[in-house]
Amino acid sequence: EAGVVQSPRYKIIEKKQPVAFWCNPISGHNTLYWYRQNLGQGPELLIRYENEEAVDDSQLPKDRFSAERLKGVDSTLKIQPAELGDSAVYLCASSLEQVVTYEQYFGPGTRLTVT
């Protein structure tokens, strides 16, 4: 079974530039999460999708961040414009909505460096 796929793995951009991350969840997983992990910290939830619907985006900085999950499968997370403080690892995870354990399967992440 293929795991969660993310691309790119690494991205270096200058501040004020736009950037986008892509995620392909495990087949059949209805729930998709985007997290940001700063150095030395745990992952922080940015947004959670149930199928195509964003059910929790309370931690998403909506002035510069946007996300979409068209057709309830792949998802993209965009930052425009990027700021120095956005440097972090962006993790995508997916889970079966029906699974009570809330076990999430994570991708390898995209390491973003804003210069």
Binding site: G42, T101, E103, F106
Partner: protein, 112 residues
């Protein structure tokens, strides 16, 4: 406002001995707790979980203990192996799944 705390950033243990990783939480609405393990350049991987209706869950060398009154949980690894060296994250969730928080992680080093 850190709702899930791991106060020990690092831990070193001799191979074969017990590793104990601790986690505290503040929100009494949390009722499901998970431990994830993370190697460098990889995403976290699920290790073990426990529901608030239990106080212990065991899976092979890994056991998680939950003390609801103290809002504390711990992960025991016995015996510790060098391959267990990784960062361990504690996570907590509410029944609705609408809240999901990770701790800051504890870096475990198992010395051969």
């Amino acid at each position: 406002d850190q709702q899930v705390k791991q106060n020990s950033p690092s831990l070193s243990v001799q191979e074969g001995r017990i590793s104990i990783l601790n986690c505290d939480y503040t929100n009494s609405m949390f009722d499901y707790f998970l431990w994830y393990k993370k190697y460098p350049a990889e995403g976290p991987t699920f290790l073990i979980s426990i529901s608030s209706i239990k106080d212990k869950n065991e899976d092979g060398r890994f056991t998680v203990f939950l003390n609801k009154s103290a809002k504390h949980l711990s992960l025991h690894i016995v015996p510790s192996q060098p391959g267990d060296s990784a960062v361990y994250f504690c996570a907590a969730s509410s029944a609705s799944g609408n809240q999901f928080y990770f701790g800051t992680g504890t870096s475990l080093t198992v010395i051969p």
